[in-house]
């Protein structure tokens, strides 16, 4: 799980163009939206694309997104349980 979290942080930095950030700057438990990384709705779409592209996960229920994208750790847990690649 910790390895997946670190990999996911790197993928988020690349997908969202956080050029000044390293994986160490992202708190695994911090909220991705609002506080923490302060992501917006376009970033949310980018994360959905990332999960599809890298892990073969298609989010069928948009309401589930709030829970999945609560933090990097919750995202990694969802990926671990649902990945197809």
């Amino acid at each position: 799980m910790e390895q997946l979290i670190e990999q996911l942080k790197s993928q988020i930095i690349e997908a969202l163009n956080f050029e000044e950030m390293t994986p160490a700057d992202i708190d695994s438990e911090a909220p991705l939206f609002g506080e923490g990384l302060g992501l917006d709705s376009i970033d949310a779409l980018e994360l959905i694309m990332l999960m599809d592209r890298e892990y073969g996960i298609k989010l069928a229920d948009p309401k589930a997104g709030k829970q999945i994208f609560a933090s990097v750790r919750t995202m990694a847990e969802y990926i671990e349980a649902n990945r197809t690649k």
Binding site: L16, N17, F18, E20, L45, E46, M49, R53
Partner: protein
């Protein structure tokens, strides 16, 4: 160049825009999400608007958002269909004027024209100033046709 005086830079291409951002702004992380055209217009405005505020922004170029459009197209190519939302956002050039207006709280006209030649912009701006003589307008050419190839020339003009 600013008012005819060169601005010293160490970097070239897109990295130069990041260097200028760090030198003249540095407090707007959204800059890193922008495409090259938007970074170019935004950072040029950031430098110019330190001297004076304006009521309107009227920019133009001849290639629209072609560089970013091409990047976006690569994400929807056959066999690799992962359309990037963050690239899609910049597939219109007028987002440049929008980003500048948001940053500098400009609530007047914001327009981005696609023109063949730079001199075609002048009558458009003159028309705006004729209709609203009290306006102070930031206007100019903001062009990025491919990676690391760009040009911007911005001016602030008003009626005497």
């Amino acid at each position: 160049m600013l008012d005819g005086q060169p601005i010293a830079t160490q970097e070239a291409g897109d990295k130069m825009l990041v260097e200028l951002y760090r030198k003249y702004a540095g407090d707007y992380p959204k800059f890193f999400k922008m495409d090259t055209l938007c970074r170019l217009g935004w950072v040029a405005a950031e430098i110019l608007l330190k001297k004076q505020s304006v009521d309107a922004v009227i920019l133009a170029n001849c290639s629209a958002s072609i560089k970013n459009d091409t990047d976006y197209l690569a994400t929807i190519s056959e066999g690799k269909y992962y359309p990037s939302p963050s690239l899609f956002v910049y597939t219109l050039p007028n987002i440049v004027t929008g980003e500048i207006a948001i940053r500098h709280h400009i609530q007047g006209e914001t327009s981005f024209y696609i023109l063949e030649k730079e001199e075609q912009l002048e009558p458009i701006v003159n028309s705006t100033l004729a209709a609203q003589p009290e306006l102070c307008v930031m206007t100019g050419w903001c062009e990025c046709s491919e990676a690391n190839k760009f040009y911007a020339k911005l001016n602030i003009i008003w009626n005497n």
